[in-house]
Symmetry: C2
Subunit: 228 residues, 2 copies
Amino acid sequence: MAGWEAVRDEVLRRIRARVWPPGAVIPGEEALAVEFGVARATVNRALREVAESGLLERRRKAGTRVAVLPVRKATLEIPIIRQEVEARGERYSQRVLAERMDPVPLAAALRMGLAEGVDLLFLETLHLAGGRPFAHEVRWLNPAVLPGGELPDFRHISANEWLVQNVAYTIGDIAFSAEAASPEEALALGIRTGDPVFVTERVTWSGEAPITFVRLLHGPGYRLRTML
Amino acid sequence: MAGWEAVRDEVLRRIRARVWPPGAVIPGEEALAVEFGVARATVNRALREVAESGLLERRRKAGTRVAVLPVRKATLEIPIIRQEVEARGERYSQRVLAERMDPVPLAAALRMGLAEGVDLLFLETLHLAGGRPFAHEVRWLNPAVLPGGELPDFRHISANEWLVQNVAYTIGDIAFSAEAASPEEALALGIRTGDPVFVTERVTWSGEAPITFVRLLHGPGYRLRTML
DNA sequence: CAGGTCATTATGTATAGACATAATAACGCA
DNA sequence: TGCGTTATTATGTCTATACATAATGACCTG
Protein backbone atom coordinates (compact mmCIF):
# COMPACT_ATOMS: atom_id res chain seq x y z
CA MET A 1 0.00 0.00 0.00
CA ALA A 2 1.48 3.29 -1.05
CA GLY A 3 0.01 6.70 -1.68
CA TRP A 4 -2.84 8.54 -0.04
CA GLU A 5 -5.27 7.51 -2.78
CA ALA A 6 -4.66 3.85 -2.03
CA VAL A 7 -5.24 4.52 1.64
CA ARG A 8 -8.43 6.43 0.83
CA ASP A 9 -9.71 3.58 -1.35
CA GLU A 10 -9.05 1.02 1.34
CA VAL A 11 -10.82 3.19 3.88
CA LEU A 12 -13.81 3.52 1.56
CA ARG A 13 -13.80 -0.23 1.00
CA ARG A 14 -13.88 -0.90 4.72
CA ILE A 15 -16.75 1.51 5.21
CA ARG A 16 -18.71 -0.03 2.35
CA ALA A 17 -17.98 -3.58 3.50
CA ARG A 18 -19.02 -2.57 7.01
CA VAL A 19 -15.69 -3.64 8.46
CA TRP A 20 -16.13 -0.26 10.12
CA PRO A 21 -19.89 0.01 10.62
CA PRO A 22 -21.75 3.33 10.87
CA GLY A 23 -21.09 5.05 14.18
CA ALA A 24 -17.94 3.07 14.93
CA VAL A 25 -14.70 4.78 15.88
CA ILE A 26 -11.95 3.73 13.50
CA PRO A 27 -8.31 3.29 14.52
CA GLY A 28 -6.25 6.43 14.98
CA GLU A 29 -3.99 7.87 12.33
CA GLU A 30 -0.90 6.53 14.01
CA ALA A 31 -2.23 2.98 14.09
CA LEU A 32 -3.39 3.11 10.47
CA ALA A 33 -0.05 4.54 9.40
CA VAL A 34 1.69 1.54 10.94
CA GLU A 35 -0.81 -0.92 9.47
CA PHE A 36 -0.58 0.52 5.95
CA GLY A 37 3.14 1.16 6.18
CA VAL A 38 2.91 4.85 5.37
CA ALA A 39 3.54 8.08 7.25
CA ARG A 40 0.86 9.60 9.42
CA ALA A 41 0.61 12.61 7.10
CA THR A 42 -0.42 10.27 4.31
CA VAL A 43 -3.17 8.72 6.40
CA ASN A 44 -4.22 12.20 7.45
CA ARG A 45 -4.57 13.32 3.84
CA ALA A 46 -6.67 10.28 2.98
CA LEU A 47 -8.96 10.56 6.00
CA ARG A 48 -9.38 14.29 5.47
CA GLU A 49 -10.61 13.71 1.93
CA VAL A 50 -13.07 11.04 3.00
CA ALA A 51 -14.31 13.27 5.82
CA GLU A 52 -14.87 16.10 3.34
CA SER A 53 -17.12 13.83 1.30
CA GLY A 54 -19.22 13.34 4.42
CA LEU A 55 -18.60 9.65 5.12
CA LEU A 56 -16.35 10.19 8.14
CA GLU A 57 -16.61 12.58 11.03
CA ARG A 58 -13.42 13.72 12.72
CA ARG A 59 -12.99 15.47 16.04
CA ARG A 60 -9.86 16.19 17.98
CA LYS A 61 -9.32 13.89 20.86
CA ALA A 62 -12.57 12.05 20.12
CA GLY A 63 -11.10 10.42 17.03
CA THR A 64 -12.59 9.51 13.68
CA ARG A 65 -15.94 7.74 13.32
CA VAL A 66 -18.02 6.52 10.42
CA ALA A 67 -20.94 8.89 9.84
CA VAL A 68 -24.30 7.41 10.85
CA LEU A 69 -26.36 9.54 8.50
CA PRO A 70 -23.83 10.83 6.02
CA VAL A 71 -24.92 14.03 4.36
CA ARG A 72 -23.99 13.34 0.77
CA LYS A 73 -22.20 16.17 -0.95
CA ALA A 74 -22.30 16.81 -4.65
CA THR A 75 -20.28 19.37 -6.51
CA LEU A 76 -22.15 21.56 -8.93
CA GLU A 77 -20.15 23.17 -11.69
CA ILE A 78 -21.63 26.44 -12.77
CA PRO A 79 -20.40 27.32 -16.21
CA ILE A 80 -20.90 30.52 -18.13
CA ILE A 81 -23.96 30.20 -20.33
CA ARG A 82 -21.94 30.63 -23.50
CA GLN A 83 -19.74 27.69 -22.53
CA GLU A 84 -22.79 25.63 -21.63
CA VAL A 85 -24.32 26.25 -25.04
CA GLU A 86 -21.09 25.67 -26.93
CA ALA A 87 -20.49 22.44 -25.00
CA ARG A 88 -23.72 21.19 -26.59
CA GLY A 89 -22.27 21.95 -29.99
CA GLU A 90 -24.62 24.85 -30.63
CA ARG A 91 -23.89 28.42 -31.59
CA TYR A 92 -24.32 30.92 -28.79
CA SER A 93 -25.81 34.36 -29.17
CA GLN A 94 -27.66 36.78 -26.95
CA ARG A 95 -30.09 39.65 -27.22
CA VAL A 96 -30.21 42.45 -24.68
CA LEU A 97 -33.90 43.18 -24.12
CA ALA A 98 -33.47 45.99 -21.61
CA GLU A 99 -30.64 47.96 -20.04
CA ARG A 100 -31.32 50.91 -17.75
CA MET A 101 -30.71 52.36 -14.32
CA ASP A 102 -33.71 51.58 -12.19
CA PRO A 103 -34.71 51.67 -8.55
CA VAL A 104 -34.29 48.14 -7.25
CA PRO A 105 -37.57 46.42 -6.37
CA LEU A 106 -38.13 45.05 -2.88
CA ALA A 107 -37.57 41.37 -3.68
CA ALA A 108 -34.15 41.97 -5.23
CA ALA A 109 -33.18 44.56 -2.60
CA LEU A 110 -33.85 42.08 0.20
CA ARG A 111 -31.68 39.44 -1.35
CA MET A 112 -28.83 41.85 -1.92
CA GLY A 113 -29.08 43.39 1.52
CA LEU A 114 -29.72 46.84 0.07
CA ALA A 115 -32.40 49.42 0.78
CA GLU A 116 -35.39 49.36 -1.54
CA GLY A 117 -35.29 51.93 -4.30
CA VAL A 118 -31.50 52.26 -4.59
CA ASP A 119 -30.57 52.85 -8.22
CA LEU A 120 -29.04 49.76 -9.81
CA LEU A 121 -28.31 48.79 -13.37
CA PHE A 122 -31.12 46.60 -14.64
CA LEU A 123 -30.35 44.15 -17.43
CA GLU A 124 -32.70 41.79 -19.23
CA THR A 125 -31.10 39.35 -21.63
CA LEU A 126 -32.20 36.47 -23.77
CA HIS A 127 -29.60 33.76 -24.33
CA LEU A 128 -29.93 31.77 -27.54
CA ALA A 129 -28.58 28.40 -28.59
CA GLY A 130 -28.50 27.96 -32.35
CA GLY A 131 -30.86 30.91 -32.68
CA ARG A 132 -33.50 29.39 -30.39
CA PRO A 133 -34.26 30.73 -26.90
CA PHE A 134 -32.20 28.94 -24.28
CA ALA A 135 -32.48 31.03 -21.13
CA HIS A 136 -34.01 34.27 -20.00
CA GLU A 137 -31.98 36.40 -17.62
CA VAL A 138 -33.00 39.28 -15.38
CA ARG A 139 -30.19 40.94 -13.46
CA TRP A 140 -29.59 43.81 -11.09
CA LEU A 141 -26.02 45.02 -11.01
CA ASN A 142 -24.51 47.23 -8.33
CA PRO A 143 -22.51 49.91 -10.20
CA ALA A 144 -20.76 50.96 -6.98
CA VAL A 145 -18.43 47.98 -7.01
CA LEU A 146 -17.38 48.13 -10.64
CA PRO A 147 -13.67 48.62 -11.29
CA GLY A 148 -13.04 52.10 -12.64
CA GLY A 149 -16.74 52.68 -13.06
CA GLU A 150 -16.40 51.58 -16.68
CA LEU A 151 -19.12 49.37 -18.08
CA PRO A 152 -18.72 47.30 -21.22
CA ASP A 153 -21.18 46.99 -24.07
CA PHE A 154 -23.36 44.16 -22.85
CA ARG A 155 -24.51 43.45 -26.39
CA HIS A 156 -21.09 42.00 -27.11
CA ILE A 157 -20.24 40.28 -23.86
CA SER A 158 -22.70 38.77 -21.44
CA ALA A 159 -22.89 40.29 -17.99
CA ASN A 160 -21.97 36.98 -16.42
CA GLU A 161 -18.88 36.52 -18.54
CA TRP A 162 -17.78 40.11 -18.02
CA LEU A 163 -18.27 39.90 -14.27
CA VAL A 164 -16.41 36.64 -13.96
CA GLN A 165 -13.47 38.19 -15.77
CA ASN A 166 -13.54 41.62 -14.17
CA VAL A 167 -14.84 41.19 -10.67
CA ALA A 168 -13.39 38.10 -9.05
CA TYR A 169 -16.17 37.57 -6.57
CA THR A 170 -15.65 34.86 -4.08
CA ILE A 171 -18.89 34.25 -2.27
CA GLY A 172 -22.56 34.05 -2.98
CA ASP A 173 -25.55 31.80 -2.76
CA ILE A 174 -27.74 30.03 -5.23
CA ALA A 175 -31.25 28.70 -5.14
CA PHE A 176 -33.06 26.53 -7.66
CA SER A 177 -36.80 26.16 -8.00
CA ALA A 178 -39.57 25.30 -10.40
CA GLU A 179 -42.08 27.99 -11.30
CA ALA A 180 -44.79 28.68 -13.81
CA ALA A 181 -43.80 31.00 -16.61
CA SER A 182 -45.37 34.46 -16.51
CA PRO A 183 -46.81 35.79 -19.78
CA GLU A 184 -43.73 37.96 -20.39
CA GLU A 185 -41.32 35.14 -19.59
CA ALA A 186 -43.26 32.74 -21.77
CA LEU A 187 -43.17 35.19 -24.65
CA ALA A 188 -39.40 35.65 -24.34
CA LEU A 189 -38.71 31.93 -24.18
CA GLY A 190 -41.24 31.00 -26.84
CA ILE A 191 -43.29 28.79 -24.55
CA ARG A 192 -46.80 28.98 -23.15
CA THR A 193 -47.81 30.95 -20.09
CA GLY A 194 -47.88 28.62 -17.10
CA ASP A 195 -45.38 26.17 -18.55
CA PRO A 196 -42.91 24.99 -15.91
CA VAL A 197 -39.58 26.82 -15.96
CA PHE A 198 -36.39 25.95 -14.11
CA VAL A 199 -35.35 28.98 -12.10
CA THR A 200 -31.84 29.72 -10.86
CA GLU A 201 -31.44 32.69 -8.54
CA ARG A 202 -27.98 33.81 -7.58
CA VAL A 203 -26.57 36.56 -5.40
CA THR A 204 -22.85 37.27 -5.44
CA TRP A 205 -20.76 39.42 -3.15
CA SER A 206 -17.28 40.87 -3.25
CA GLY A 207 -16.28 41.05 0.38
CA GLU A 208 -19.07 43.04 2.04
CA ALA A 209 -20.56 44.66 -1.04
CA PRO A 210 -23.28 42.94 -3.09
CA ILE A 211 -22.38 42.80 -6.74
CA THR A 212 -25.32 41.33 -8.53
CA PHE A 213 -28.58 39.45 -8.26
CA VAL A 214 -29.56 37.27 -11.21
CA ARG A 215 -32.70 35.39 -11.99
CA LEU A 216 -32.19 32.88 -14.75
CA LEU A 217 -35.02 30.95 -16.41
CA HIS A 218 -34.67 27.80 -18.45
CA GLY A 219 -37.60 26.45 -20.39
CA PRO A 220 -38.98 22.89 -20.37
CA GLY A 221 -36.46 20.18 -21.13
CA TYR A 222 -33.59 21.81 -19.27
CA ARG A 223 -31.72 19.53 -16.86
CA LEU A 224 -29.09 20.54 -14.35
CA ARG A 225 -26.76 17.60 -13.91
CA THR A 226 -24.09 16.74 -11.38
CA MET A 227 -22.27 13.79 -9.90
CA LEU A 228 -22.48 12.44 -6.41
CA MET B 1 2.09 35.26 7.70
CA ALA B 2 1.63 31.83 9.12
CA GLY B 3 -0.64 28.95 8.24
CA TRP B 4 -2.05 27.72 4.97
CA GLU B 5 -5.33 29.57 5.47
CA ALA B 6 -3.49 32.89 5.67
CA VAL B 7 -1.62 32.02 2.50
CA ARG B 8 -4.88 31.06 0.79
CA ASP B 9 -6.53 34.32 1.82
CA GLU B 10 -3.62 36.38 0.54
CA VAL B 11 -3.70 34.48 -2.75
CA LEU B 12 -7.45 35.12 -3.06
CA ARG B 13 -6.89 38.80 -2.27
CA ARG B 14 -4.30 39.11 -5.00
CA ILE B 15 -6.57 37.45 -7.53
CA ARG B 16 -9.47 39.67 -6.57
CA ALA B 17 -7.32 42.82 -6.57
CA ARG B 18 -5.95 41.76 -9.97
CA VAL B 19 -2.38 41.84 -8.68
CA TRP B 20 -2.40 38.53 -10.52
CA PRO B 21 -4.77 39.15 -13.44
CA PRO B 22 -6.73 36.40 -15.21
CA GLY B 23 -4.48 34.26 -17.35
CA ALA B 24 -1.28 35.32 -15.61
CA VAL B 25 1.20 32.76 -14.34
CA ILE B 26 1.78 33.31 -10.64
CA PRO B 27 5.14 32.76 -8.91
CA GLY B 28 6.13 29.15 -8.21
CA GLU B 29 5.56 27.47 -4.88
CA GLU B 30 9.20 27.84 -3.92
CA ALA B 31 9.20 31.60 -4.51
CA LEU B 32 5.93 32.09 -2.63
CA ALA B 33 7.22 29.98 0.25
CA VAL B 34 10.22 32.29 0.57
CA GLU B 35 8.08 35.42 0.25
CA PHE B 36 5.55 34.31 2.86
CA GLY B 37 8.15 32.75 5.10
CA VAL B 38 6.54 29.30 5.16
CA ALA B 39 7.45 25.86 3.88
CA ARG B 40 6.61 24.87 0.32
CA ALA B 41 4.16 22.26 1.60
CA THR B 42 2.13 25.03 3.21
CA VAL B 43 1.97 27.01 -0.02
CA ASN B 44 1.09 23.80 -1.85
CA ARG B 45 -1.84 23.16 0.46
CA ALA B 46 -3.15 26.70 0.01
CA LEU B 47 -2.82 26.71 -3.79
CA ARG B 48 -4.37 23.27 -4.03
CA GLU B 49 -7.47 24.48 -2.19
CA VAL B 50 -7.82 27.55 -4.37
CA ALA B 51 -7.35 25.44 -7.49
CA GLU B 52 -10.10 23.10 -6.32
CA SER B 53 -12.48 26.04 -6.12
CA GLY B 54 -11.74 26.74 -9.77
CA LEU B 55 -9.92 30.08 -9.49
CA LEU B 56 -6.47 28.71 -10.27
CA GLU B 57 -5.32 26.19 -12.82
CA ARG B 58 -2.24 24.15 -12.05
CA ARG B 59 -0.18 22.01 -14.37
CA ARG B 60 3.12 20.35 -13.78
CA LYS B 61 6.01 22.12 -15.35
CA ALA B 62 3.69 24.80 -16.79
CA GLY B 63 3.07 26.33 -13.36
CA THR B 64 0.01 27.90 -11.79
CA ARG B 65 -2.11 30.47 -13.57
CA VAL B 66 -5.22 32.45 -12.71
CA ALA B 67 -8.21 30.95 -14.48
CA VAL B 68 -9.51 33.09 -17.34
CA LEU B 69 -13.05 31.77 -17.21
CA PRO B 70 -13.26 30.14 -13.81
CA VAL B 71 -15.92 27.47 -13.65
CA ARG B 72 -17.51 28.26 -10.35
CA LYS B 73 -18.08 25.26 -8.14
CA ALA B 74 -20.78 25.03 -5.54
CA THR B 75 -21.23 22.25 -3.05
CA LEU B 76 -24.70 20.78 -2.75
CA GLU B 77 -25.53 19.01 0.47
CA ILE B 78 -28.07 16.30 -0.04
CA PRO B 79 -29.75 15.47 3.24
CA ILE B 80 -32.17 12.71 4.01
CA ILE B 81 -35.70 13.99 3.59
CA ARG B 82 -36.53 13.40 7.23
CA GLN B 83 -33.61 15.62 8.26
CA GLU B 84 -34.63 18.25 5.74
CA VAL B 85 -38.15 18.37 7.17
CA GLU B 86 -37.00 18.34 10.77
CA ALA B 87 -34.49 21.11 10.06
CA ARG B 88 -37.52 23.26 9.17
CA GLY B 89 -38.97 22.54 12.56
CA GLU B 90 -41.76 20.37 11.21
CA ARG B 91 -42.77 16.83 12.09
CA TYR B 92 -41.80 14.23 9.49
CA SER B 93 -43.95 11.33 8.46
CA GLN B 94 -44.33 9.21 5.37
CA ARG B 95 -46.92 7.05 3.67
CA VAL B 96 -46.00 4.12 1.47
CA LEU B 97 -48.38 4.25 -1.49
CA ALA B 98 -47.09 1.19 -3.32
CA GLU B 99 -44.52 -1.56 -2.75
CA ARG B 100 -44.19 -4.45 -5.16
CA MET B 101 -41.83 -6.36 -7.42
CA ASP B 102 -42.29 -5.07 -10.93
CA PRO B 103 -40.56 -5.28 -14.29
CA VAL B 104 -38.56 -2.10 -14.63
CA PRO B 105 -39.83 0.27 -17.32
CA LEU B 106 -37.56 1.38 -20.12
CA ALA B 107 -36.79 4.88 -18.80
CA ALA B 108 -35.60 3.62 -15.43
CA ALA B 109 -33.78 0.64 -16.96
CA LEU B 110 -31.78 2.92 -19.24
CA ARG B 111 -30.65 5.09 -16.40
CA MET B 112 -29.63 2.13 -14.29
CA GLY B 113 -27.89 0.38 -17.14
CA LEU B 114 -30.13 -2.67 -16.83
CA ALA B 115 -32.15 -4.58 -19.40
CA GLU B 116 -35.78 -3.57 -19.69
CA GLY B 117 -38.18 -5.79 -17.81
CA VAL B 118 -35.82 -7.00 -15.09
CA ASP B 119 -37.75 -7.44 -11.86
CA LEU B 120 -36.99 -4.68 -9.39
CA LEU B 121 -38.63 -3.57 -6.18
CA PHE B 122 -40.91 -0.65 -6.92
CA LEU B 123 -41.64 1.79 -4.12
CA GLU B 124 -43.92 4.82 -4.17
CA THR B 125 -43.81 7.02 -1.10
CA LEU B 126 -45.33 10.30 0.00
CA HIS B 127 -43.21 12.34 2.42
CA LEU B 128 -45.11 14.65 4.73
CA ALA B 129 -44.02 17.68 6.72
CA GLY B 130 -46.38 18.48 9.58
CA GLY B 131 -48.96 16.23 7.98
CA ARG B 132 -48.92 18.09 4.66
CA PRO B 133 -47.45 16.64 1.46
CA PHE B 134 -43.81 17.59 1.08
CA ALA B 135 -42.42 15.34 -1.61
CA HIS B 136 -43.52 12.45 -3.77
CA GLU B 137 -41.01 9.69 -4.35
CA VAL B 138 -40.95 6.95 -6.96
CA ARG B 139 -38.09 4.48 -6.64
CA TRP B 140 -36.78 1.31 -8.25
CA LEU B 141 -34.51 -0.72 -6.04
CA ASN B 142 -32.21 -3.49 -7.19
CA PRO B 143 -32.71 -6.38 -4.73
CA ALA B 144 -29.58 -8.12 -6.01
CA VAL B 145 -27.23 -5.80 -4.14
CA LEU B 146 -28.97 -5.85 -0.79
CA PRO B 147 -26.94 -7.14 2.15
CA GLY B 148 -28.25 -10.53 3.24
CA GLY B 149 -31.27 -10.16 1.00
CA GLU B 150 -33.16 -8.82 3.99
CA LEU B 151 -35.47 -5.90 3.40
CA PRO B 152 -36.81 -3.69 6.17
CA ASP B 153 -40.35 -2.50 6.65
CA PHE B 154 -40.38 0.64 4.55
CA ARG B 155 -43.39 1.94 6.44
CA HIS B 156 -41.13 2.58 9.41
CA ILE B 157 -37.93 3.73 7.76
CA SER B 158 -37.64 5.55 4.47
CA ALA B 159 -35.84 3.77 1.66
CA ASN B 160 -33.34 6.59 1.43
CA GLU B 161 -32.47 6.50 5.10
CA TRP B 162 -32.24 2.72 5.14
CA LEU B 163 -30.01 2.67 2.06
CA VAL B 164 -27.71 5.34 3.39
CA GLN B 165 -27.24 3.31 6.54
CA ASN B 166 -27.06 -0.13 5.00
CA VAL B 167 -25.50 0.26 1.59
CA ALA B 168 -22.67 2.76 1.66
CA TYR B 169 -22.84 3.65 -1.99
CA THR B 170 -20.13 5.89 -3.22
CA ILE B 171 -21.04 7.11 -6.67
CA GLY B 172 -24.04 8.24 -8.61
CA ASP B 173 -25.44 11.12 -10.54
CA ILE B 174 -28.18 13.60 -10.04
CA ALA B 175 -30.27 15.72 -12.36
CA PHE B 176 -32.69 18.51 -11.51
CA SER B 177 -35.45 19.80 -13.73
CA ALA B 178 -38.79 21.54 -13.75
CA GLU B 179 -41.79 19.64 -15.02
CA ALA B 180 -45.56 19.88 -15.07
CA ALA B 181 -47.31 17.66 -12.55
CA SER B 182 -49.16 14.69 -14.01
CA PRO B 183 -52.69 14.06 -12.71
CA GLU B 184 -51.46 11.28 -10.39
CA GLU B 185 -48.57 13.34 -9.09
CA ALA B 186 -50.81 16.36 -8.56
CA LEU B 187 -53.27 14.24 -6.61
CA ALA B 188 -50.55 12.86 -4.35
CA LEU B 189 -49.05 16.27 -3.65
CA GLY B 190 -52.37 18.05 -3.31
CA ILE B 191 -51.73 20.46 -6.16
CA ARG B 192 -53.31 20.98 -9.58
CA THR B 193 -52.44 19.02 -12.69
CA GLY B 194 -49.92 20.98 -14.72
CA ASP B 195 -48.54 22.90 -11.73
CA PRO B 196 -44.75 23.18 -11.89
CA VAL B 197 -42.90 20.61 -9.80
CA PHE B 198 -39.21 20.50 -8.94
CA VAL B 199 -37.87 17.12 -10.00
CA THR B 200 -34.76 15.44 -8.63
CA GLU B 201 -33.65 12.24 -10.35
CA ARG B 202 -30.85 10.26 -8.82
CA VAL B 203 -29.08 7.02 -9.75
CA THR B 204 -26.68 5.45 -7.28
CA TRP B 205 -24.18 2.65 -7.76
CA SER B 206 -22.18 0.43 -5.49
CA GLY B 207 -19.09 -0.35 -7.51
CA GLU B 208 -20.43 -1.76 -10.79
CA ALA B 209 -23.92 -2.65 -9.68
CA PRO B 210 -26.77 -0.15 -9.82
CA ILE B 211 -28.56 0.14 -6.52
CA THR B 212 -31.46 2.43 -7.03
CA PHE B 213 -33.10 5.01 -9.23
CA VAL B 214 -35.23 7.64 -7.53
CA ARG B 215 -37.51 10.30 -8.91
CA LEU B 216 -38.39 12.86 -6.28
CA LEU B 217 -41.02 15.56 -6.79
CA HIS B 218 -41.36 18.71 -4.76
CA GLY B 219 -44.39 20.93 -5.20
CA PRO B 220 -44.47 24.69 -5.77
CA GLY B 221 -42.55 26.77 -3.26
CA TYR B 222 -39.70 24.32 -2.87
CA ARG B 223 -36.23 25.83 -3.17
CA LEU B 224 -32.95 23.98 -3.35
CA ARG B 225 -30.30 26.20 -1.81
CA THR B 226 -26.54 26.12 -1.81
CA MET B 227 -23.55 28.37 -1.38
CA LEU B 228 -21.01 29.40 -3.94
C1' DC C 1 12.64 21.30 -41.66
C1' DA C 2 10.13 17.34 -39.55
C1' DG C 3 10.20 14.30 -36.05
C1' DG C 4 11.86 11.92 -32.26
C1' DT C 5 14.76 12.03 -27.87
C1' DC C 6 16.19 13.86 -23.66
C1' DA C 7 17.11 17.34 -20.09
C1' DT C 8 14.74 20.59 -17.37
C1' DT C 9 11.33 22.25 -14.38
C1' DA C 10 7.11 23.04 -11.48
C1' DT C 11 3.92 20.59 -9.34
C1' DG C 12 2.57 16.16 -6.78
C1' DT C 13 3.44 13.34 -3.13
C1' DA C 14 5.91 11.00 0.79
C1' DT C 15 8.46 11.15 5.18
C1' DA C 16 9.97 11.91 10.07
C1' DG C 17 9.69 14.91 13.51
C1' DA C 18 7.68 18.57 16.05
C1' DC C 19 4.40 21.59 18.16
C1' DA C 20 -0.60 23.46 18.42
C1' DT C 21 -5.28 22.82 19.59
C1' DA C 22 -9.52 21.16 21.10
C1' DA C 23 -12.02 18.08 23.61
C1' DT C 24 -12.40 14.49 26.69
C1' DA C 25 -11.46 12.11 30.90
C1' DA C 26 -9.42 12.03 35.27
C1' DC C 27 -8.68 14.33 39.37
C1' DG C 28 -9.23 17.03 43.41
C1' DC C 29 -11.75 20.05 46.19
C1' DA C 30 -15.75 22.08 48.42
C1' DT D 1 -22.37 14.66 45.02
C1' DG D 2 -21.31 18.43 42.13
C1' DC D 3 -18.12 21.42 39.95
C1' DG D 4 -13.96 23.52 38.43
C1' DT D 5 -9.07 22.34 37.14
C1' DT D 6 -5.68 19.70 34.92
C1' DA D 7 -3.64 15.95 32.29
C1' DT D 8 -4.12 13.31 28.37
C1' DT D 9 -4.91 12.31 23.67
C1' DA D 10 -6.20 12.34 18.65
C1' DT D 11 -6.40 15.34 15.21
C1' DG D 12 -4.54 19.66 12.86
C1' DT D 13 -0.79 21.82 11.06
C1' DC D 14 4.11 23.11 9.89
C1' DT D 15 8.86 22.08 8.50
C1' DA D 16 12.74 20.31 5.79
C1' DT D 17 14.01 17.08 2.67
C1' DA D 18 13.55 13.84 -0.90
C1' DC D 19 11.96 11.65 -4.85
C1' DA D 20 8.13 10.99 -8.54
C1' DT D 21 5.76 12.65 -12.49
C1' DA D 22 4.17 15.16 -16.28
C1' DA D 23 4.86 18.46 -19.58
C1' DT D 24 7.61 21.69 -21.85
C1' DG D 25 11.23 23.08 -24.67
C1' DA D 26 15.76 22.42 -26.33
C1' DC D 27 18.52 19.46 -28.82
C1' DC D 28 19.82 16.22 -32.10
C1' DT D 29 19.28 13.58 -36.20
C1' DG D 30 17.70 12.10 -40.71
